[in-house]
């Protein structure tokens, strides 16, 4: 049984119709001790099925240690939105409510290869002296 309603699927399909570049959605999950792992995996899978530009991969947080290590995942459920390269975009927890919109936005952004940031911001970010790790805390809306 699908999580995303059919009517919503149609709307999302339209949202994603303009995708140009390929997007990979990678979900890290595990069987036990993870309240929303199964649901998150299914939601992300369903989104990936709504565009032929999106591919979907699932990895196990315990078994697939190499992937966990190389993508620096430290908690689950985790969903990465990437193009051919890692763009540093991570969703930890179930992407529900407003965060679902953020997920679609991230997909569009990665696909176009353009963050939409003003040029000045891009220049400042280009001058960073060390890696930046931003964590934005949200609650389900």
């Amino acid at each position: 049984m699908g999580i995303i309603k059919d009517a919503d699927k149609e709307a999302i399909k339209k949202e994603l119709a303009g995708l140009t570049g390929p997007v990979k959605l990678i979900n890290f999950t595990q069987e036990l001790e993870c309240q929303y792992c199964k649901e998150t995996n299914q939601i992300v899978r369903e989104v990936s099925e709504l565009s032929n530009k999106i591919t979907f991969e699932t990895y196990n947080f315990i078994a697939d240690k190499e992937m966990v290590g190389s993508l620096k995942i430290d908690k689950i459920p985790a969903t990465i939105v990437m193009g051919s390269d890692d763009r540093g975009i991570r969703f930890y927890g179930v992407p529900s409510g407003y965060e679902f919109i953020s997920l679609l936005e991230a997909i569009r952004m990665v696909s176009s290869g353009n963050s939409g940031l003003p040029q000045q911001s891009k220049e400042i970010l280009g001058k960073l002296k060390k890696p930046l790790h931003l964590q934005v805390f949200v609650t389900p809306t």
Binding site: I89, R90, V94, P131, H133, L134, Q135, F137
Partner: protein, 53 residues
Amino acid sequence: MVIADMVEATEFPHLAIKYQLMGVPKTVINEELHIEGAIPERMLIQRIAEKYA
């Protein structure tokens, strides 16, 4: 490199405690720079530039 996480706080209570989460949204940068609430993009970049550029 920039890594940006969306973290659904109710699923990770240990982080809510670690970062003393009183309300959302809250942005924590490099474990040390805390920004409460939603701020304009320009302001976020400014705060980042002050400390890290």
